[in-house]
Point group: C2
Chain length 371, copies 2
């Protein structure tokens, strides 16, 4: 079992990583130690439901599991109505502010469950068991919870750190394989932003890692990704400065997701295209050499991630969508740009024309940069 501690004073919590951990006999004891006699509501989606039910049966021996709330899978469930239903279920089961909301699922489940826990009786407690790679490596760390509004994703939410996170890669056996790629988009992102050595490991072992052929190496990658993010969160929980660095590729990526209507352009794909666009923009500004852009693009390619700025989106439309993002405070765009592998930088005040030109360059160049 591998462990990372998120250091946030009295709100510190452990992230425990272990393959097949969640269905071992001792897991009910582990959760029971955290929840004591307090009530637990498990929240999951229709896709993860079978695993969540199996887990619930196992936990019931040692944990006061009061019920399971299942919502329809998908980003379209990530709204106020689902959060309200989770809270109402909790109220019907007489949960109080000492009770636990246990999320079993991907990023949407974690975000919604954490948000419900944050507002239920002005703040109950929360445990995460992420089942997608994206949630394991990124969204289950850091205490950001959210739901979408028709006007934009993650427009409402709260900061609530969980009591603990349990990462069991065995859950990945049940998900569609492209979800592995989506997770690696965020893992490559954090490595490319902060840790060239980690990036090298990901680059070198792409085949082994994306095929999950070496469980110990896979756990190590999760541990390194979580530790990098935990360190950032420990220094800047509420995103006043450093935490914004985690948004490498996200300014462009969110805009692509939005223009796509959250259809085929999944978050990881948007981030992947967004990182390539950010590389081209960094080149325009003289921050990064082309060979580092090539290195990142090749790594993304190895993990089956898209790189091109898709032809179906107009550069001006993407620019407009970026301006309407919640991060664009006061109508100003903020970009996280690479200055070589492992070094990110926050850049503001870039002229619109420069951004548009970089986007056009990100339309192609992919063939040329393949080795």
């Amino acid at each position: 079992m591998k462990k990372v501690t998120v250091e946030l004073g009295e709100r510190s919590y452990p992230i425990e990583i272990g393959t097949n951990m969640c269905f071992s006999d001792s897991f009910a004891d582990r959760i029971g130690k955290i929840t004591g006699n307090e009530s637990v509501l498990i929240v999951t989606d229709s896709f993860v439901k079978p695993s969540a039910e199996k887990l619930a049966a196992l936990l019931k021996r040692k944990v006061a599991v009061k019920g399971i709330h299942v919502f329809p899978e998908g980003e379209q469930s990530k709204n106020f109505a689902t959060v309200e239903r989770i809270c109402r279920k909790a109220a019907k089961l007489h949960l109080d502010r000492k009770s636990f909301f246990l999320a079993v699922g991907g990023g949407v489940t974690g975000d919604l469950t954490g948000f419900a826990a944050a507002i239920y009786m002005r703040g109950a407690r929360f445990i995460q068991i992420p089942t997608s790679l994206l949630a394991m490596a990124d969204s289950s760390v850091g205490g950001k919870t959210a739901a979408d509004l028709p006007e934009g994703i993650n427009l409402i939410g709260a900061f609530l750190q969980p009591q603990a996170v349990f990462i069991d890669p065995a859950f990945l056996d049940t998900i569609k394989s492209f979800n592995i790629s989506l997770g690696f988009a965020e893992i490559l992102k954090i490595a490319a932003t902060f840790d060239a050595d980690f990036f090298g490991l990901l680059e070198k072992n792409a085949f082994t890692l994306s095929g999950r052929k070496d469980p110990a190496l896979f756990e190590e990658v999760l541990q390194r990704a979580c530790r990098l993010k935990a360190d950032v969160v420990a220094k800047d929980e509420k995103e006043s400065s450093l935490r914004a660095m985690l948004n490498f590729g996200h300014t462009f990526g969110h805009a692509l997701e939005k223009l796509d209507g959250f259809d085929r352009m999944y978050h990881g794909f948007g981030v992947s295209c967004g990182m390539y666009m950010a590389c081209r923009l960094a080149e325009e500004l003289g921050l990064q050499e082309h060979r580092d852009t090539v290195r990142l693009a090749n790594a993304l390619y190895k993990y089956n991630l898209p790189v091109y700025f898709p032809a179906r989106f107009g550069a001006k439309d993407v620019y407009k969508a970026m301006l309407s993002d919640k991060k664009a405070a006061g109508g100003k765009l903020k970009f996280i740009l690479p200055c070589g592998i492992g070094k990110g930088k926050i850049v503001e005040g870039i002229p619109k024309e420069t951004v548009l030109a970089a986007m056009e360059k990100a339309r192609s160049g992919y063939e040329k940069i393949l080795p």
Copy 2:
């Protein structure tokens, strides 16, 4: 102008009290100093709308007022749907996390607006202009925000301290007179719990105060009530101990409101009946002498507040409703009981029979105790 500061470190804020303050020329400057160039969304209900529009016109000279969101007046608006509409309005007007939500209204408006501000982009900013006496003396102080679920009132919410609170008793000219009584229920509550001297002032000046015949004295009462609550909140913001003392009369009161279906039994009336029940229970337990119960009951009577436990409610039904309240953590009832005027005490573990007996005694005794 009178002032109270809520001392919460970097989240400290001023409560300013002044009759006709909000429609003076300098008020737009005062708000403008707080909001700077940031966007402001005014939130109000259909009843307060005319005053809010007048205020908006005045503020626009110095403040970036982007719009007014008006929701239908009444507790039935205090739900998720209204919070979602406020957030969507904010998104449509391109508010960001530096923007301000300005509540102009009573307790429902303040609770909903604060909740929307708390979750919009995981936390925007908030200013309160309470227009009911209940909101001026109680709910606008302390940072509790909330909405109701069908399962119970205030079941969802967040803690968000405002940037400032502006209390102008002139707003009371527009409200129905029984709302003055509702406010005095909370004012008498905090005096009876913490400050015998203040209670004496309220007792002595009931006619002058309930008729608002002396503006300076009325402002002083608001200042003293706010200061008492601010001191409690400064010591225990998240209600882990001391803040629970503010719930004198509320354990019974909430149950009465709930059984009534939030119809005629307004919050202040519930709290008033609840305080009398708590007095009778305190007598049963030997904590308070009957003459102090009489003193409180007489004071409530002078402010046109109900005292009797209404015949239409069954004691056992009230007991059951209390158990389902969010404060009843782990199925245990917690009562705030008086030990003489100005001294409250938290008591747990009272036998059900004792509570039921005290409730039956609170059915009557009113005639006997009038002087």
